[in-house]
Subunit: 419 residues, 2 copies
């Protein structure tokens, strides 16, 4: 066993032991620990910002772009937002212990299906340091322990944040190992975590295609992926064109780096002559590059040629593919063959057409007359989200606290035996 695997295993075993303590702790204790963690983050602000300054200096030395440095940067108000998000999670309803079903059998057995924590949740992420506290808070609220592996650029910041979180845990007598941040960011930590069957109960990778691929290829424990979103807005012939344009601008331009941002717009041929020129003007005003099919380019001459690759690309930027289609069937076929089953919308006033679209598009979230940007735990009313699952099992679409739980069946009898 490599030294790294030995270390990861030891940390995970300790975290798994802590998972049981967390699972059996009262709801009140877990909630108070989250509030204490938020207070510790505020009290430790100076230390955390000093650690962040170290990361920022190292990032500049490594020549990271200013955009990347900015994602890494914490200041007083960003830190306050992290503490306050932790308190928001504390105040969410506790999913643990909830009875989701109960029934009796003819032989008198009473069966209760009760939510219980998953156990030890491994989360692997690359992005902003706030994910450290977000992930730890969501796991603790749902009665789980977590083992986190963040990005290398944010290591000192993440360690400082995890330290403050552990102060909150310890204040309530909970084990610090219940939120374990790996103190290194080696690539080999990914397969190491994925190899720990019976210790790690689930791995959630949040990040780019390289990270997702590394996890899927190596994991021997269940994975819930947070993968690409190639999202579509289909403008049907019976659409309110003003509504369609507003939704497209929102879905593409409001936050193009989000997985629920639109990458492709499909437009019915019947309305293309009327709709495309005005859409083109509006998109150009938002500095959005258009890559179009040949018909699109007749109506938006500034559009570049869309390649086959474009239709399957998550641009994550102000670039939009536009294609004219003959109608509903072609739109569905395009989305089903080239989309990523994340979030897809139809704009139409025709309910029958909309119902067909909602039924035939096999995506986590299907929209009728609304922006794909609503695919989000907060927007759905889940209070917070672990992310957006692009998998079909256990969690699909916005993943909230409930998806961090499983269940047990409690069966109560009076001596029943099976005949």
């Amino acid at each position: 066993m490599s030294e790294l695997l030995t270390t990861v295993t030891a940390l995970a075993v300790a975290a798994k032991k802590a998972a049981r303590e967390v699972a059996l702790a009262s709801s009140e204790k877990r909630t108070q620990a989250l509030l204490a963690a938020a207070q510790a983050i505020r009290a430790d602000a100076e230390k955390i910002l000093a650690a962040n300054a170290q990361d920022l200096a190292a990032a500049r030395l490594k020549g990271l772009t200013e955009a990347m440095v900015d994602r890494l940067r914490l200041d007083g108000s960003r830190l306050e937002a992290i503490a306050s998000a932790c308190e928001d999670v504390a105040r969410l309803p506790d999913p643990v212990g909830e009875i989701t079903e109960s029934w009796s059998r003819p032989n008198g057995l009473k069966i209760v299906r009760r939510r219980v924590p998953l156990g030890l949740v491994a989360i692997i992420f690359e992005s902003r340091p706030n994910v450290t506290i977000d992930a730890a808070a969501l796991c603790l609220k749902s009665g789980n322990a977590c083992i986190l592996r963040g990005g290398s650029e944010a290591l000192q910041t993440n360690l400082a944040l995890a330290q403050s979180f552990s102060t909150g845990l310890k204040a309530l007598g909970l084990p610090a190992a219940a939120a374990t941040l790996l103190p290194f960011t080696d690539r080999e930590a990914v397969p190491a975590l994925g190899s720990l069957r019976g210790i790690v109960d689930i791995i959630i990778p949040r990040g780019g295609p390289g990270l997702i691929e590394a996890v899927v290829q190596s994991a021997r424990v269940p994975v819930i992926k947070h993968d690409a979103g190639i999202c579509h807005v289909y403008v049907h012939a019976q659409a309110d064109l003003k509504m369609a344009q507003e939704i497209i601008l929102n879905a593409k331009c409001q936050r193009p780096s989000a997985c629920n941002a639109a990458e492709t717009v499909l437009v019915d041929a019947a309305i293309a002559p009327q709709f495309l020129p005005q859409l083109g003007t509006a998109l150009l005003a938002k500095n959005t590059e258009i890559r179009g099919c040949p018909i699109t380019r007749q109506y938006i001459p500034s559009a570049r040629v869309a390649t086959e690759q474009d239709w399957q690309t998550e641009h994550l930027a102000l670039i939009l593919n536009v294609k004219v289609v003959s109608g509903l069937d072609e739109a569905i076929k395009h989305i089903e063959s080239l989309g990523s089953h994340h979030s897809d919308a139809i704009i139409t006033a025709d309910e029958n057409v909309a119902r067909t679209f909602l039924a035939q598009i096999d995506s986590a979230c299907v929209y009728w007359n609304a922006s794909t940007r609503f695919t989000d735990g907060g927007e759905f009313g889940f209070g917070a989200e672990v992310g957006i699952s692009t998998d079909r099992l256990h969690a699909r679409g916005p993943m909230g606290l409930r998806e961090l739980t499983t269940w047990k069946f409690e069966v109560i009898g009076t001596g029943q035996i099976r005949s």
Copy 2:
């Protein structure tokens, strides 16, 4: 790409295409196809029994035990049971399309969470040929296509059964590929199926440790395991001892080869002198070998010494481990450290003790005063079962039709955009 992988891929791609047709077919059509399949099995009885005779002859040549040959054997009444089970599945409530939740958001968005099929389900099994029809029927009822890989000894029988099932599909205009049996049983088919990301949506292995291990080590698609059951019955000091004995005899002896059969009994020290001699006599009368801790052997002199390995072994036979414990805490510690989190029972008249046991034992099914043998989709009232999941994600414990579905969110707006 190996020839086998090419063939498996081509069959899986065709099955995946069929999955979409099945998912969009009406409930009535899928139900009628199942009834037609049952009729086809009856009409094809002669062909199926002839194929089975081939398998039986080959099995005898290979020197399989009479018990194994018997598991393989079909006759008129066993075949009728297969057809009739297919009709039972047809008559179950259809989970597809069910709305499990719906709510509105303050911005007016209406959100519906609706059950949809998983897609293409791969099931790998080793056991009796009836699983071929069982698995295909459950998948079709839940709107899925399936790709099946059965045991080598039953290949001719399975092919004949799959042929009859496809007659039912075709009678309703559904594609035969919606229930695809691999026409070979090479070991390499397991990693081949597991490599098909984006095509196979889930793999369910049903079988011994070797099969489970082969799937887990090679799969890159989600797996739901149907693994070992090391189940316990804990007899608390406040137990009704007559009830305890009846439950133990049922849990161990009624069908020792089942995963929900008990392997270990824990007995409180306070009642051991009174309870163990009578339990020993009753178990011996059922030809059950006892492997006991030193104290157990004082009260049941015929008991053999239980080794450390025994406490972690799924005997699947008339062998029972018996251990005397100091009380609830030791019992919980034993079960949590040596059990398999499948099904565990406490026998007691003390509700507080029982509630502690139900809360602290982290198993799929926890019992109070009932036999562990009730862990079963039929006994739980699910109508039928794919098996007993020993995983924590998506399905835990008895896995019925609902666990063969996922969901989509349908979001209906009036032009909402995200601010």
